[in-house]
């Protein structure tokens, strides 16, 4: 019996980037996409994915907020979060750690970097 693919949710408002990420991860994971903060949070609650690739600057609800909200919810305990952002400052990374992200990827990145980060978190 084939083991079910793990589920990954991409929350990213830039369609081009979201599509590219879907292509990169699509072979190995079951990928869904949300294009703004609110629908992202809804889908997290509905789908309960194994990992979320979370952009920080999103319409109507920021990535830090989503991360923080998810960490307060005990039913989502095992979910991994990979923050993806153009912010390069150490303080931004610290903020990410504070709200409880598992890893942090700085834009721009290579396809292999994304794949490696996701694999690493889901292994």
């Amino acid at each position: 019996m084939v083991k079910a693919k793990k589920r990954v949710l991409i929350i990213e408002d830039e369609l081009n980037i979201a599509n590219a990420q879907k292509m990169i991860l699509g072979d190995d994971y079951e990928v869904s996409v949300a294009n703004d903060g609110d629908s992202g949070l809804d889908m997290i609650r509905k789908l309960k994915p194994d990992l979320v690739v979370l952009d920080l600057m999103l319409p109507n609800r920021g990535g830090y907020d989503i991360c923080f909200t998810v960490r307060q919810d005990h039913s989502l305990n095992n979910m991994k979060i990979l923050m993806v952002t153009a912010l390069t400052q150490q303080v931004d990374k610290n903020k990410g750690v504070m709200v409880g992200t598992d890893a942090y990827l700085t834009k721009p990145f290579e396809p292999e970097q994304l794949l490696a980060a996701v694999r690493n978190l889901l292994s």
């Binding site: 830039e14 980037i17 990169i24 600057m57 153009a86 390069t88 721009p108 290579e110």
Partner: protein, 490 residues
């Protein structure tokens, strides 16, 4: 008639009951104006000091209203039978008002000492009353010895003694507490002293001449005026002072709010630009990556290498954007250091930098001992190091050498990057730190970069309160030294 005669006549007039009325009326006007000034200030700024001043000057106003009322009655209508009682009451009331004025003016000292104003007043009131009582008894016994009538003089004597003691006590209190900050202290002391000259002269008149010496009566007249003028001036200055201070404060508050707004806009701009510029780069990089690793179909070697060029250029563009943003962040007021203690040896030994050097076939000698512990913002210092190493590698020919070394002194530490490159002309060295400056002419440039590296280095080093020094000789090489003060991480 000469001016002196006129003046003498005027003061002589002031010594009569009609003169007393005029004097009291003038004093009433002055005190009312002062009181009004303080009260209107108080409605805007409810400070305790002002409350004390209001109580004191209101007491003076009531006292003067009272004297004007009964003196006018006496002068214009008929001499009331109880003139003596009213005048005595008036005098006692004036002493009490002066007592309140004294307390109001020493209030800043009390506040700085942390003493409660009410408690202080209660204690002084008893003390001053007892002292006046003792002194009056002494003077009355002198009058008695001289053969004067005790009954005629005890009220006036005790009133004047109390006047003097109250005024002198508060003047003395201010002088004794010179260490505390009281604005216009000399003026206040002078006003108290001058005010007390009149009762002193009156006392002399009573004790020595049973109050019959006309010259002493005349001599006593001008002093209360002078002191009232000084009080008015002090109050005026105090209030004007507060008003100017307040408007200055308001102005600087506005300026501060404006600066905060500008700096906030700048920070917003930086993060927006960062997001907006990097988003398309991310897209480009991801799709180029997908094309290169064959996810979107097989490619020929030539096509792959073309995409390699695109990828390299995207990286370069990203580097430039990062540099620009870093620099504008360093220039914004919010630039902060994230201090920690780390080993400089580990920082410069990082594989990434060694690989950078290996690629360009230049020998990199690292002369930083293990355990070279420093306190700085590690990420920013990494940036400094990468920029300096980058510059050295860029301008050093193949087969050259780049040396990284460090040294520690009592209150500072240094590290330097030196190379055997082509060097920089002496007159161009100071310009190296300018934004976008390149020692090479634009048209003859052989190396990439937009000239932000050293500006960033300088920004970071100055944020650490350190200095950057450059020594260079054409054809021999360049040495950049960073000197940073020793800091505490906490």
């Amino acid at each position: 008639m000469s001016f002196v005669h006129l003046l003498h006549g005027f003061f002589n007039f002031l010594g009569t009951t009609e003169g007393e009325l005029l004097k009291s009326a003038i004093e009433l006007i002055f005190f009312t104006i002062v009181d009004y000034m303080i009260i209107s200030e108080w409605t805007r700024n409810r400070k305790k000091e002002l409350r004390f001043l209001i109580i004191a000057f209101s007491a003076l106003v009531i006292d003067k209203l009272f004297s004007v009322y009964f003196l006018a009655n006496f002068v214009f209508i008929d001499s009331p039978a109880n003139f003596w009682t009213l005048s005595t009451l008036d005098n006692f009331f004036e002493i009490f008002a002066l007592f309140l004025v004294g307390n109001a003016f020493v209030y800043p000292v009390l506040m700085q000492k942390g003493i409660s104003g009410k408690e202080f007043m209660a204690k002084r009131f008893v003390m001053l009353l007892l002292t006046s009582f003792v002194f009056s008894l002494v003077l009355l016994s002198i009058i008695d010895l001289r053969g004067g009538d005790f009954d005629d003089f005890w009220t006036e004597t005790s009133i004047y003694v109390a006047d003097i003691i109250v005024l002198m006590y508060y003047a003395g209190y201010l002088v004794a507490n010179q260490g505390y900050k009281v604005k216009y202290m000399p003026n206040i002391v002078a006003a108290f002293m001058i005010y007390s000259v009149t009762p002193v002269i009156n006392l002399f008149n009573i004790v020595l001449y049973d109050g019959t010496n006309r010259s002493l009566v005349v001599a006593a007249q001008p002093f209360p005026f002078i002191s009232i003028m000084i009080f008015t001036q002090v109050i005026y200055l105090k209030l004007v002072d507060k008003a100017t201070l307040k408007s200055q404060l308001r102005r600087s508050e506005l300026r501060y709010a404006h600066e905060k707004e500008v700096s906030k806009l700048k920070d917003e701009f930086i993060s927006t630009v960062s997001h907006e510029l990097k988003t398309p780069l991310t897209s480009m990089k991801l799709y180029v990556g997908l094309l290169r690793n064959g996810k979107l179909g097989d490619l020929k070697e030539k096509q792959k290498s073309a995409l390699g060029v695109v990828n390299g250029e995207v990286d370069r563009l990203n580097g430039l954007i990062t540099d620009l943003l870093d620099l504008s962040r360093l220039e914004s007021s919010k630039a902060k250091l994230d201090l920690s203690e780390f080993d400089l040896h580990d920082l410069v030994k990082d594989e990434l930098y060694i690989n950078m050097a290996k690629k360009s076939k230049i020998a990199v000698v690292i002369d930083v001992p293990k355990g070279f512990m420093v306190v700085a913002d590690m990420n920013k210092l990494k940036q400094v190091f990468v920029n300096l190493l980058n510059n050295s590698l860029k301008f050093t020919p193949e087969g050259g050498k780049v040396t990284v070394s460090s040294s520690m002194s009592e209150d500072s530490w240094e590290f330097s990057v030196s190379d055997t490159g082509k060097g920089v002309e002496k007159d161009k060295i100071p310009k190296l730190f300018d934004k976008f400056y390149q020692a090479d002419d634009y048209m003859t440039r052989t190396k990439g970069g937009i000239g932000l590296g050293l500006a960033i280095v300088k920004g970071i080093v100055e944020l650490h309160k350190g200095t950057v020094g450059i020594e260079s000789e054409l054809g021999k090489g360049t040495k950049v030294t960073i000197k940073l003060p020793k800091m505490s991480a906490y």
